[in-house]
Symmetry: C2
Subunit: 491 residues, 2 copies
């Protein structure tokens, strides 16, 4: 058990912040709202990157890279987009510093003012659609299925590591299509990719659905999303995929000659997930003993620790440990053998437990005599004595088991914390005493949605794709509704 | 042969620009000096990234991520560093836009001026060493071996795609060590990694050496470099590795408790290569027919094109082509089968030739009858008829052959264009009539180096590690010199 580590039940927010720092995932930086992603945190992000990148390529996408800067005027071309993004952003106004005439370091050179200010990209629809104009002439040039891995900046006032930072890392897909149907299909396909990744890699169950108009991406006709439930019952939007209609094509005059020889505006989608997923991963599985990682995203999946009293006991243990390591590695499993003599086994146990290594194997002289090793799984902290003979297969199975168990545990938690509310009183009561997802009827108006948000801080997370048709009355206005939507307080 | 494509001998600079655009590698963007890296160009960069990243990890490095922005004051901490970098940079002065009171889009909100301006990183020594201060307490925390893949911005006045752009992609390694010896060793080790990558992946011979004081990185005690020769005889600095001494540790007060219990400043290195390598790759191998790629970095290594007159001939060809494709892929080779009927074989031949696909296989009905296929290698454009039986092994060997041949060709070119000059007249004569590398004696002073640069635009590329001790006289000043250095005009 980690010393002085705050419990989730005591202060969930502090627990999160401390976990991120103490598990060496990230730390705040000297630049307001920007974080440093430390090597251990970055190694997890790299695994996310690699898995997602492969999924994008398997669905026909290619990577490209577009400029970091966006001319200010570009942001204004799409009316809703500028409202949503141009307000809180980093603005480059000058391109030179000069020595301070007073001798105090350097100052901005007033002679080096840019004719047009540049915005550090908060998202790249505008610069990309300005580029696509030159790439698209005819239907033969379509579809364009590009993705970009990049950093973006949004000047957030209240930041939290991974969840909301001024600069973050993400991928943004930007596709161009000849028909509306194809674009909608693409936006939905990528939402499925995100859901697949969230559930099968992150072991995080998600609800797929569509956002209410109020929660749409600025410039989109429809925003699809995956919503997850954190361990404090709050919702977290884990990924979004937007059907942008012809909005950006019109804003940047991107037309194509159809196979009926007509000039038509191109249809668009965009979709993205970010280092915010790191926050979601942490808050879905971790516990009062530290980080818990699903095996598929753990930089180290298995750690082997030798237990010995005198140095002469080490060589035979090491021999066995390295044999197990080789066998596991041959199965594609990442293993660390920590035989450092500068740290005691107990310290190492705590360290790897706190860092969420899924499986720990401890081997001592008595184990060797008995032909066994102690195997401990991080998710349940359960220890078993395991025969050395075929231990690699047992560990491989155990990793699969942990991956499944983490998903199931999170799914059970979500199920236990998803409730129906049929009256306004019931709705508020659940929100304040239990939290979680609330399935309730809503009259479909932005006005009602905003009133509910003002009064309770709960928002409509999504209208689930699998919502059952059901006649009911809006919990707030009493007006008729045809299906329940998901309300929750959210990150 | 590509139509209307300018020859290298006619206009090398135009040939390069046109090649970059027409081979779909990159294009200029709406933002001055920033380029769009198109999918085909980015696919090559991804291969470079993956190979280098593995080499860094194999030598014990880990990746991390540090903020895009650097507080202005940080840049001033190291005196030479600020001279070298803070002058031409993108400066963020505001964090908000607002609606123009005149109704014309948005304007910078004067109320949202940052207290301290932020510089978009031109390189990250300052922000990283400010972070390392908190990571390093004792010798047990050392070494730190971090690398970062990132975008950086340097406000260059004259830009050229890949070679010199305002924004570019790169990796920057930043390491911290307990001793001077260890830091120097690290800086040299990483130069060897770069040389290995340049020669064995890019098929580009490089000269390893140390920069003269004048050409050192701003803030370094020594800059090691690899220098390559382009097909116009000009030099290109392909990678640098810096021994930074204790300069940044002193500037950011980074001390550690040694194992003798003394507080000491930490020793540093930094090293980087960038998308500039794309320019080097293009200019080393490509020809008047377009791009030439070394097989190890080609996104598509083999293209198979069916030749048929009537659609009924296609199925049997496709069957054989797909069988070859499967066999090659099983050997880890990337293959594209282009059976699109919207383009003729001749068009496809030109297209893949221009894009530098190393091997092309063409299969027609007559080939099938004879049990052969036509195999064409991009480097020499040589075509051979090859038995279908075992063709996959022949192609695999051919790819290795092409990789070696490209290196050898470039090495021969470099050898033929490296000359000794013993007098100032001879030096100028060679520079103006032949170009290439000139091995000449230099008196070791910055003054002489600068005079030579002013008069001839040639710079000292490096003092080669393998320079032979040899007594001579400086070509410019006539003062004594103990070894020859490499002079050249450079990109």
């Amino acid at each position: 058990m980690a010393k002085d580590f705050v419990k989730r039940s005591e202060n969930y927010s502090e627990w999160y912040n401390e976990l991120v720092t103490r598990a060496d995932l990230a730390e705040t930086s000297a630049v307001r709202g920007c974080m440093v992603i430390k090597p251990y945190g970055y190694a997890i992000w790299e695994k996310m990157h690699d898995a997602l990148d492969k999924m994008f390529k398997d669905t026909g996408h290619v990577n490209a890279y577009f400029p970091l800067f966006i001319p200010k005027s570009f942001m204004c071309r799409e009316a809703e987009h500028v409202e949503g993004f141009a307000k809180e952003c980093a603005v480059v106004t000058h391109y030179r510093l000069k020595n301070d005439p007073d001798g105090n370091g350097v100052v901005v050179d007033p002679d080096a003012r840019l004719e047009e200010e540049l915005i550090v990209r908060p998202t790249s629809e505008t610069i990309i659609w300005n580029t696509y104009r030159n790439w698209i002439k005819s239907y033969r040039d379509l579809p364009i299925l590009c993705n970009q891995w990049a950093n973006v900046v949004r000047w957030e006032m209240r930041t939290r590591m991974f969840l909301r930072t001024a600069e973050f890392l993400w991928q943004e897909g930007h596709t161009a299509h000849a028909t509306k149907e194809e674009a909608v299909e693409e936006a939905k396909r990528m939402l499925e990719v995100y859901a697949d990744f969230a559930e099968n890699w992150m072991a995080m169950p998600v609800t797929k659905g569509v956002k209410s108009p109020n929660e749409r991406f600025a410039g989109a006709l429809d925003t699809y999303c995956i919503e997850a439930m954190m361990q404090d019952g709050k919702a977290l939007q884990a990924g979004t995929s937007h059907f942008l209609g012809q909005n950006f094509a019109k804003a940047f005059d991107v037309k194509f000659l159809s196979n009926e020889n007509q000039l038509e505006y191109v249809w668009a989608t965009s979709w993205g997930v970010s280092t915010r997923l790191m926050g979601a991963l942490i808050m879905t599985h971790s516990d009062d003993n530290g980080l818990v990682l699903p095996p598929k995203l753990a930089p180290t999946q298995v750690v082997i620790i030798p237990i010995y009293k005198t140095p002469d006991q080490l060589p035979t243990i090491s021999e066995k440990a390295l044999e197990i390591k080789r066998k596991l590695e041959a199965m594609g499993i990442t293993v660390k053998y920590d035989d450092r003599d500068s740290f005691k086994p107990g310290w190492k146990f705590n360290e790897y437990e706190f860092k969420g290594v899924p499986v720990r194997i401890a081997i001592g002289p008595r184990d060797l005599e008995q032909g066994t090793a102690e195997v401990c799984r991080r998710d349940t902290l359960e220890k078993t004595s395991c025969s050395l003979d075929g231990i690699e297969n047992r560990v491989k199975d155990l990793l699969d088991e942990i991956q499944k168990n983490l998903f199931q545990k999170a799914a059970d938690y979500r199920a236990a914390n998803t409730r129906k509310a049929d009256t306004w009183e019931e709705f508020k009561e659940i929100l304040d005493t239990k939290g979680g997802f609330i399935l309730a009827h809503w009259d479909g108006t932005t006005e009602t949605e905003e009133r509910i948000k003002e009064e309770t801080k709960a928002t409509i997370r999504c209208i689930p794709f699998d919502a059952v048709e059901e006649e009911g009355k809006c919990i707030y206005s009493g007006k008729p509704s045809h299906r329940r939507v998901i309300f929750a307080r959210a990150y």
